[in-house]
């Protein structure tokens, strides 16, 4: 329940007779909500292709189309009733494998997803919502040459006098912090938005990002810690980043982070790019991810740190039988009480084609997939994604599943058959516990 963002909504039938109206709404809305002309055009074309697709698959059915201003992007949402619609062309794997011809079923959907910077599909009962997103333009701040953590100490100035921790007092501090993160830490330990400080400022203004800064008596920026809320129950943090020597910056920032987030709805605080060892600050090591960095031939090991913010009295989770040994080991290691219910096929009807959302970071060679719609082709679709992503040069491929969802939990079997290994259990990482699978290259 949040304050609604500025938006316009049309109610219209799935009929191309209304294409100009939909185009006009998307184009005008995108312009008013701040997209530059070229990006507004991409959103307009995406909306048109989506309407074309829906008019072919659900002719005449009522739709609602909303153009919505986000803090860092503008979105077009289509909402309609149907559980049968084939949305498989929204998979990035479909984009990679589609032949270069028009007129294929789903081609318009493929075009729509390809024109935009992101999409999501939600299905609740018979209601489906497809969202196309186009990001605003931000200036990229050139990153200095990557450094190794061992090289950094000598370059940090001394902290002067007592340190105070508070949210940034002005946006120029965020720019300074983003540059300092890139200066003192290797690329894979820096969040993507640090390269576009303007985006960070907008995210902060929209409460999509929170930042605490450590400032010494001379007013110098000594450190920073930042966090986002990927789900209602979890907070993902970046840092703590320390830019000066001395002053107990790490302790001050981690304690402030815990104190600030303890009064939110979040149950779990975690980081998979924590910049420092956090064992001394009450954080538990949750996993060690093997990570291929663009600038190093050998993979590095990324520790994942976390801690719960509230008392955890236990919950029930769904699990595929093949995942149960991993879960049991993890739950015992982290002293978590869980009632594991194994999933089984009940012969219920599901759609033929599955859909995965993808979050891609080419700079980090990282792809994180998330199942959006269940389908009979889960296993083949996963394999198609791996092939497409590897062809594109992605070396860190992950899939996350939420164990509150039986169909997502059931996907663990297909994932393990497709060379994915459970790498991280994140308690309360989504609606319930989340398991992150990592693709492991099969050995010859």
């Amino acid at each position: 329940m949040t304050t609604p963002s500025p938006h316009i909504t049309l109610s219209l039938p799935a009929d191309m007779a209304w294409a100009r109206l939909a185009q006009s709404a998307a184009e005008n809305g995108a312009g008013v909500f701040g997209l530059p002309k070229d990006k507004a055009l991409r959103l307009t074309m995406g909306a048109e292709e989506l309407l074309l697709y829906l008019s072919e698959t659900l002719p005449g059915k009522p739709l609602s189309m909303t153009v919505r201003a986000g803090s860092t992007a503008v979105a077009t949402e289509f909402e309609f009733e149907s559980s049968e619609t084939d949305l498989s062309a929204m998979n990035i794997a479909a984009a990679a494998s589609a032949p270069d011809t028009d007129g294929l079923p789903g081609m318009s959907l493929l075009l729509a997803s390809g024109m935009t910077d992101g999409f999501s599909v939600e299905r609740v009962g018979r209601k489906t919502r497809i969202t196309l997103i186009v990001d605003r333009d931000y200036t990229v701040v050139e990153a200095p040459a990557p450094r190794q953590p061992g090289d950094l100490a000598a370059t940090r100035p001394d902290t002067k006098g007592p340190v105070s921790v508070a949210p940034p007092s002005e946006s120029s501090m965020i720019l300074e912090g983003c540059v300092a993160m890139q200066t003192f830490y290797p690329q894979h330990l820096v969040p993507i938005w640090a390269k576009t400080p303007g985006k960070a400022v907008d995210m902060l203004a929209a409460a999509e990002l929170e930042i605490l800064t450590a400032v010494d008596a001379s007013g110098a920026l000594c450190g920073m810690i930042c966090w986002e809320k990927p789900s209602q129950e979890s907070i993902q943090f970046y840092g703590p980043y320390c830019f000066t020597e001395g002053g107990d910056i790490l302790r001050l920032l981690t304690e402030a982070l815990v104190a600030t987030t303890a009064h939110t709805s979040a149950k779990m605080l975690f980081s998979n790019i924590a910049a420092e060892n956090l064992a001394a600050y009450g954080f538990e090591p949750l996993a060690q991810l093997t990570y291929h960095t663009p600038d190093q031939p050998a993979p590095c090991v990324l520790p994942v740190w976390g801690r719960q913010l509230r008392e955890d009295f236990g919950v029930s989770v769904w699990a595929h039988p093949n995942l149960v040994p991993f879960l049991e080991e993890q739950y015992e290691a982290h002293v978590l009480m869980r009632s594991i219910k194994t999933t089984s096929e009940l012969g219920e009807r599901i759609t033929d084609r599955s859909v995965f959302a993808a979050k891609l970071s080419r700079d980090l060679s990282e792809a994180v997939l998330k199942p959006m719609l269940n389908g009979l082709d889960n296993e083949q679709n996963i394999q198609r994604h791996v092939e497409a992503l590897r062809t594109e040069g992605f070396r860190n491929i992950f899939v996350t599943i939420d164990l509150s969802s039986g169909w997502q939990a059931a996907m663990a079997g297909a994932l393990m058959d497709a060379c994915f290994t459970p790498a991280l259990l994140l308690p309360h990482g989504g609606q319930s516990d989340v398991v992150m699978f990592q693709y492991v290259e099969p050995t010859a």
């Binding site: 329940m1 949040t2 304050t3 609604p4 609740v124 209601k127 919502r129 304690e255 815990v258 104190a259 303890a262 009064h263 939110t264 709805s265 001394a280 009450g282 954080f283 538990e284 801690r307 719960q308 913010l309 509230r310 008392e311 955890d312 009295f313 236990g314 982290h334 002293v335 978590l336 009480m337 009632s339």
Partner: protein, 371 residues
């Protein structure tokens, strides 16, 4: 995807408020953890209770009284309290636990734009009640684990209506002595309502501890809260009361729900007031022994701790409080994590009988094989 216009229907101060979720029932918890017993060291209950006279009166209670509404303003209980404290029964107001009385006081005195002043690390219901009532809660940092009188005085302005003092403080156990309390009340000078919450007052056996009920004539702006849930072990029945001048009680009564205290609760509370056994002294002895055990343990392990008044103790450990909570729960011991109460990585432990405290000490030690 609800179609309810909640953004319009729900006030912002409710939208932004994070609800409190209590723990699941003991039986479910024990089943989930495979426990044969559960030691409840998280709610500061008195494991000795209730007092003998309460037991007797409850055994005499007959089911035929259940279809009849309780007395709407707990008349007999108020008369028993009046007799005990040498006051008029009109100086007492009984509520469904102190939480209801906190709510009644905030409703009676505060309106939009007003504020209350209390500490940042104290009984959280003062802050919560103000926040979900749309009233600003000014939270003054503790000074060395104690309420800071000067900082609180500085925080008071023309829109401050109520100051909440928790004496002794939950969870730190620190208290203001008579001199500090009087200096504070004199400085306020009757301009603001001061609530002295003495929920754990019966646990304090110190000569300089102020009995605020005795100070009501001198300070007409003073309201004293007490409860039957702590020392008198009637937590399941939810009975608390306030004592103030008749004038103030008349005001608070206007914002207070009548009939909120059930017949069993009224009956048991009156019996607790009249009980003349050694129950209170026995409880104090039990707590003193427990404090000594915990102080020895935490000092021995080199952990920072806060053990003062009240039937509880706090300790800070290098492990997250939430992980330690789970480790202890696996051994049948439930403690309170304190991160959500602005004490990151501290836990609070209720002090009960010696055998259980020994079990706690063993489980606590085992959680830190290499402290």
């Amino acid at each position: 995807m609800s179609n309810l216009p909640l953004d319009r229907l729900v006030p912002a101060h409710i939208r932004l408020f994070e609800p409190y979720y209590p723990s699941m029932p003991d039986r479910e918890l024990m089943a989930l953890y495979g426990l044969e017993y559960l030691h409840r060291l998280h709610n500061n209950e008195n494991a000795l209770g209730p007092p003998p006279l309460v037991r007797t009166r409850l055994e005499q209670f007959h089911a035929g009284a259940i279809p009849v509404y309780p007395n709407g303003d707990s008349r007999e209980l108020r008369q028993a309290l009046a007799e005990k404290f040498g006051k008029s029964s009109e100086q007492f107001l009984v509520g469904n636990g102190s939480c209801e009385l906190i709510s009644s006081v905030v409703k009676a005195f505060c309106e939009e734009g007003d504020n209350i002043v209390t500490a940042d690390r104290t009984f959280a219901v003062y802050e919560w009640t103000a926040s979900f009532s749309g009233i600003e809660a000014r939270l003054i940092p503790l000074n060395e684990f104690a309420f800071d009188p000067d900082a609180m005085l500085n925080a008071i302005d023309s829109r401050t209506k109520v100051v909440f003092l928790c004496n002794p403080n939950n969870p730190t156990g620190t208290y203001w002595d008579k001199a500090t309390m009087c200096r504070f009340l004199d400085a306020i000078g009757g301009e603001v309502i001061v609530v002295a919450d003495e929920a754990y007052g019966e646990y304090v056996d110190r000569e300089d501890y102020p009995d605020c009920i005795e100070m009501l004539e001198r300070y007409p702006n003073l309201i004293v809260f007490r409860t039957f849930s702590k020392m008198y072990a009637l937590a399941a029945l939810r009975v608390g009361y306030l004592c103030a001048s008749e004038e103030l009680v008349d005001i608070v009564r206007r914002a207070h729900v009548a009939y909120s205290v059930n017949t069993l609760g009224q009956l048991a509370a009156a019996a607790a007031v009249q009980d003349d056994s050694s129950f209170v002294a026995d409880t104090r002895t039990m707590v003193a022994n427990g404090r000594h055990m915990l102080r020895t343990l935490f000092t021995d392990m080199g952990f920072e701790h806060s053990i003062n008044e009240g039937n509880y103790a706090m300790v800070k450990t290098p492990m997250s409080d939430t992980l330690l909570h789970r480790k202890l729960l696996c051994k049948g011991i439930m403690v309170r994590t304190m991160t959500g109460f602005r004490f990151p990585n501290w836990i609070r432990i209720s002090i009960v009988q010696e055998p259980v405290m020994e079990e706690f000490c063993a489980a606590f030690r085992a959680a830190f094989p290499n402290p």
